[in-house]
């Protein structure tokens, strides 16, 4: 028979001050961990939500970034005729030549400006991005100096909102619409007309990359082989999903995440020692009670279990405190840089079930490890000696 859990919970309530202080200490540790998980989940969801598994991106051989890539006009024509490419209703192959450039926009937090990606598209580009939906305004008119902005841009850069105008290239561009594209990184992009944009940056003809929709997921592999083996092209095709997975790796968010996890783990060691201290004090204070419990017939094992559970309960309380401390960060929008694209990608901290349960498990572990030795010493006490103590 086990010692009732109520006995432990009442003891925790009885020692309010100590319980709260220890829980708060564990709570801060857990808060650091939850924040790091939330950041990782936010960043991962951006890149995991980017790219379509039926699509591939064609870049110059030797580069893995759209920015450094060029694809000549004649190569665009060659790629259009490759087999396995999906076609739209009018029979046009779904191949989108795209330009990519980086511009500097001042933001609230950073008056010197942060870098933002601008993508140049032809109308066909939108057909490869059916998931992009207008939030307000309209799509840009290809003949005009107009742009549409992703919601991540609109929320972070005051000037880049519908009705406003932004300066880059050879002058001013009107913002005519705001779009959202799932949780993908295109929410951190500005879209303009391909030819207008290339003209502004003195690049005539051709594009940086080609985005290609294939007939099926299986066709992607065949297509990448075909591009690789075509000596005329000097290009390589990468599945779009793989392209975005690589971007995650080079994102600077990884640095901050790693610092966060390292700090959380080291703090947890400290918090574990503190939990042990609290539990040793509890054991010492309740020496005669332990003797009484033993005299009543509770086994050493049930005493051990009881004190370990008390420690875990204490730590879980800390975990809840930690979750509450971290909760206000939920959905907070922040930006991370990327050394691959030299621009900023917006993400949202995701304090979701995974982050919180991660924090609680972490807390329980601190309690388990910190509480084991004190509980062990409690269970080893001789009945008579224990009753005499304290």
């Amino acid at each position: 028979m086990g010692v009732p859990l109520r006995y432990n919970l009442r003891n925790l309530v009885e020692r309010k001050g100590t319980t709260l202080m220890t829980a708060l200490g564990i709570g801060l540790t857990v808060a650091v961990l939850i924040t790091s998980i939330a950041m990782k989940r936010g960043i991962d969801s951006v890149f995991a939500g980017s790219g379509n598994s039926e699509q591939a991106i064609v870049l110059r051989t030797g580069t893995d970034s759209e920015l450094n890539s060029t694809v000549k006009e004649e190569n665009y024509q060659i790629v259009r005729r490759l087999p396995g490419i999906a076609k739209d209703a009018s029979g046009e192959p779904l191949v989108s030549p795209e330009a990519m450039t980086v511009v500097n926009l001042p933001s609230v937090e950073n008056p010197n400006g942060m870098n933002v990606s601008v993508r140049g598209l032809l109308p066909i580009g939108l057909k490869l991005r059916e998931s992009a939906k207008l939030v307000s305004g309209r799509w840009n008119d290809p003949g005009k100096r107009e742009v549409v902005v992703g919601e991540g841009i609109a929320s972070r850069y005051p000037a880049a909102r519908v009705g406003g105008s932004i300066q880059f290239g050879r002058g001013s561009w009107d913002v005519v619409g705001e779009f959202v594209n799932g949780s993908s990184s295109s929410n951190s992009e500005i879209w303009a007309d391909l030819n207008q944009l290339r003209g502004d940056f003195e690049q005539q003809g051709g594009s940086n990359s080609l985005l290609v929709r294939l007939e099926s997921v299986a066709a992607v592999q065949t297509f990448t082989e075909a591009v690789k083996n075509d000596q005329r092209l000097g290009s390589a095709a990468i599945p779009e999903k793989v392209y975005y997975a690589n971007l995650t790796k080079s994102s600077t968010g990884v640095v901050l995440q790693s610092i966060g996890f390292l700090v959380a783990v080291v703090m947890a060691i400290g918090a574990g020692f503190a939990a042990a201290n609290t539990m040793y004090a509890a054991v010492a204070r309740r020496s005669s009670e332990i003797g009484t419990l033993r005299a009543l017939g509770f086994s050493r094992a049930s005493i051990l279990k009881s004190f370990v559970l008390e420690s875990v309960a204490l730590a879980l309380l800390g975990g809840v405190v930690g979750a509450l401390l971290a909760a206000p960060l939920n959905n907070l929008s922040a930006g991370i840089g990327n050394f691959q694209t030299f621009s900023e990608t917006a993400f949202k901290f995701q304090i979701d079930a995974v982050a919180i349960s991660g924090g609680l498990i972490f807390a329980a572990l601190i309690g388990l490890v910190g509480g084991f030795l004190p509980a062990w010493s409690a269970s080893r006490k001789g009945i008579v000696a224990a009753m005499r103590e304290g």
């Binding site: 001050g17 100590t18 708060l24 030797g62 970034s65 511009v103 640095v255 610092i259 503190a274 201290n277």
Partner: protein, 387 residues
């Protein structure tokens, strides 16, 4: 105070396990604080790597590092009053051997003749400078990097391009000693331009960044403004900053690092404070009767206060000392993990001081409330306290 020292020591040693656990908890948490402080210092308060650093400016395209500048900017910058010399200093990127992290290092296209004037703190024998300048496919490598990659004078180094569609075939002509964070392979910008023209690039005569040496530190801000004003209305406007500001702009790229580190440091410090305060409170509560007896023996409330605070401070400070040793280990580990940016994390006297002072302050702050309460407690009531 010293009269109380034996009592303080006895109290610490009476509860060896508790003192040790508190000490360990403080030491572990303080060491991570030490690491963060070292990182913070490396990011924001790094001392100038050499006296010349303060004299240099870096000019790049106003929009971003991926936008290039025409090579013709060089002559126009050089004509500005106060500019001693200018050299292209273009990031090449590329891949050496494979994309393993240990083979990643900086490669810059430079004009060796001008570079020698701008980076007077790059030290190499005169004949090596001359050999590097003479050979269009020659290259220079920083000594630390050469040792790490086991590269010697006369070695061939091939680097395949990713930003540029060209491959470099270089011969090492010079090994130079450079101030921290300047480890790179340098080669002729002329060679790069030639290759780019051969590859059919339309605008091959471009440069990523220019390094500028100013006559005096006072000239630096004015030159920065003058360069930017010169190209403000051109198709290729510039942003010119001191070498330090340029480095910090990379950091801005990581996000709000300053705030992030500050918040984590605060969380760590507050956690240690809670843990220590909790321990002091537990000890004092257990000794309620004992303290009352000391009072009846004639110890003043002030002396009680001093024993409690003394005990807490002593444990904290010893914890701090252990933490400093841990920090040394963590910074060494962190530094090697960062590879080419390893100089960012350094174990400095300032880090030691910061950890030490924090430890002492935590010792005092953690004890102050329980100590005051204990010293003020009514003697008779305390004697009755059952514990």
């Amino acid at each position: 105070m010293f009269r109380l020292a034996p009592l303080i020591l006895r109290n610490i040693f009476r509860h060896r396990r508790r003192s040790l656990l508190t000490l360990a908890s403080t030491a572990v948490s303080l060491s991570v604080l030490g690491l963060l402080i070292a990182l913070f210092q490396g990011f924001f308060f790094a001392p100038a790597s050499s006296p010349q650093e303060a004299l240099r400016l870096i000019s790049r395209h106003k929009v971003s590092l991926t936008n290039v500048l025409p090579a013709s900017h060089e002559a126009r910058i050089a004509a500005i009053d106060g500019v001693v010399s200018v050299s292209p200093y273009s990031w090449f990127g590329g891949v050496y051997k494979n994309d393993k992290p240990e083979n990643f290092f900086a490669r810059f296209a430079v004009d060796p003749e001008e570079l020698r004037k701008v980076y007077v703190d790059y030290k190499a024998p005169d004949e090596q400078w001359k050999a590097f300048t003479r050979n269009r496919t020659g290259a220079a490598i920083a000594r630390k990097l050469a040792d790490k990659l086991n590269i010697k004078i006369g070695d061939r180094v091939n680097i395949s391009g990713d930003i540029y569609p060209v491959n470099l075939e270089l011969k090492i002509e010079m090994i130079y000693d450079a101030p921290p964070n300047n480890d790179a392979v340098l080669f002729h910008v002329k060679y790069l331009t030639e290759l780019r023209k051969a590859a059919g690039e339309a605008d091959a005569d471009t440069v990523g960044t220019f390094a500028i040496l100013a006559r005096s530190a006072d000239d630096v801000p004015r030159i920065g403004r003058a360069v930017d004003a010169l190209f403000d209305n051109s198709p290729s406007p510039t942003r010119t900053e001191s070498e330090r500001e340029f480095a910090l702009s990379f950091l801005a790229f990581l996000g709000n690092v300053k705030l992030y580190l500050a918040v984590i440091c605060a969380a760590v410090t507050f956690t240690i404070l809670l843990v220590s305060a909790n321990t002091v409170a537990m000890s004092v509560r257990e000794r309620t009767r004992e303290i009352a007896i000391l009072r009846t023996l004639g110890y003043s409330p002030m002396e009680i206060l001093q024993t409690v605070i003394g005990e807490s401070v002593l444990i904290s400070v010893v914890g701090g000392a252990v933490a400093i040793a841990f920090t040394l280990g963590l910074t060494t580990l962190g530094s090697s993990a960062l590879g080419p940016f390893g100089d960012t994390i350094k174990f400095t006297p300032q880090v030691v001081l910061a950890v030490g002072v924090t430890a002492a302050l935590i010792g005092v702050l953690a004890a102050i409330v329980p100590a005051v309460l204990a010293s003020r407690r009514n003697i008779v009531e305390s004697l009755r306290y059952a514990g």
